[in-house]
Amino acid sequence: MTTANESRETGTFTVKRGLADMLRGGVIMDVVDAAQAKIAEDAGAVAVMALERVPADIRRDGGVARMSDPALIEGIQQTVTVPVMAKARIGHFAEAQVLQALGVDYVDESEVLTPADVAHHIDKWAFTVPFVCGATNLGEALRRISEGAAMIRSKGEAGTGDVVEAVGHLRSIVGDIRKITQADGAELFAWAKQLAAPIGLVKEIAETGKLPVPLFCAGGIATPADASLVMQLGAEAVFVGSGIFKSDDPARRARAIVEATTHFDDAEHVAKVSRGLGEAMRGRAAAELEGSERLADRGW
């Protein structure tokens, strides 16, 4: 078809973060099979996250949570035309290699799965496929970016349906970015030390007032108003995990969250799409979780 392959460079950081940029303003939905993936795409998802169990079920079932079966991922890839993401365990670079070989469009190095390494995250620069990683604060976000992540999402507390943790993570990240833009040269070194993050990235934030990659929100989003809230707090797109397929009417709720994410600053529109959606996921208050049940504490 084309004779231009020799001038093509794949896997550059521009190409990796570019896909994240194209997903901005959209909703990425967790799906466990091809039928759910179809419902998600029909509702307007910009991408789907293929996994074996949604976080709420991982919590309920316990045990070790791992990368999904390749057959499941391939079934979803054959069903939808939007990008397909999949999760690898923290530090499990072999799972990530498998996901890259499967042609997954984004890898989520995710605290929702059981970590494979308690000291190291994946060296994401070694991959052509882009990575998204979770963060609870700016230091964690910048460490993941220095390892090659091309998209950051808040962790929240996945599978709870409680947005309180995600709000805390977003406020922490966005608030510290605001403070850094006011810091003088000497203070930037103190920020780098405090955040345990590379000074080069701290200086970049001081200049641009933004994270060097898109900042999305994940963890506990269950309603259109939740999506509007986190978008107004500075998220650039929204991940919805258990919130859709653990609700009464997934197709309608998915569609409503898509609309609310696009029109997040138009309260009348959010009101319109919020009407009569049926029961949201029952959920669990994040404050009631025992220490070992808290997923956001995973990652270093």
């Binding site: 004779t3 460079e9 570019g18 194209m22 307007g44 035309t81 469009d105 898509v258 696009t262």
Partner: protein, 212 residues
């Protein structure tokens, strides 16, 4: 029309809206975000940014923008689409969803994700082939292709302004038919402003009130 200056609308439902605003900002061209039908009032041109074409198609419909946009484009409103944007303009879309709506104002066939999944997304160059971008002697444009559509057929009367790679053997990547301009890559993600400048020129030549 009492608009003091021409304004270019950027469809702001989803995707890389900010980068298009910044590109036109560098050229001194004012922009406005388009989310509702009333946002179209007084516009002199409109841009469809990169994003997910299935999502954009659905949101254009649900926001009540499809019919008014279609009418304005049919009446001659200049329009510029990049990546997902050219899919919204194309007459034929391969590999899309059956219910995916396109404005059908650019006579070509595009294949969604024509280069494969994200690991085949790439940075490269495109070579100008038409006088609008300086002709074949002009320097190549840097280009970012992200899960890009591939143009597999071009209708009569549609000009191919650039092709992928060095030389003129690559697939068509910039198409123009009158007031409709489309690119399969993302000129808004690089610093080369030739395509945005060309669209600004197209808008200006349509608009007597343009003051920039």
């Amino acid at each position: 029309m009492s608009e003091p200056t021409a304004i270019v609308g950027v469809l702001a439902l989803q995707g890389d809206v900010r980068e298009h605003e910044a590109a036109f900002g560098e050229l001194g061209v004012p922009t406005r975000r388009v989310r509702r039908p009333e946002d179209l009032d007084g516009l002199s041109g409109v841009v469809f940014p990169g994003g997910e074409s299935t999502t954009l198609s659905l949101l254009v419909d649900s926001s009540g923008l499809f019919d008014p946009l279609h009418k304005r484009i049919a009446e001659g409103l200049p329009v510029f689409g990049t990546c997902a944007g050219i899919i919204l303009l194309a007459r034929q879309v391969e590999g899309g969803r059956a219910d995916q709506r396109s404005f059908g104002v650019l006579d070509c066939t595009v294949r969604r994700n024509g280069y494969g999944p994200q690991r085949f997304s790439f940075e490269g160059e495109v070579t100008p082939t038409g006088p609008e971008l300086g002709g074949e002697d002009a320097a190549p444009l840097p280009a970012v292709f992200i899960r890009a559509p591939l143009v597999v057929a071009v209708g009569e009367g549609v000009d191919v302004l650039a092709r992928e790679g060095r030389g003129t053997g690559g697939a068509p990547v910039v198409l123009r038919d009158g007031k409709v301009l489309g690119a399969t890559f993302h000129p808004e993600l690089t610093t080369d402003r030739r395509l945005h400048a060309l669209f600004a020129q197209m808008v200006k030549s349509e608009c007597r009130t343009a003051l920039w």
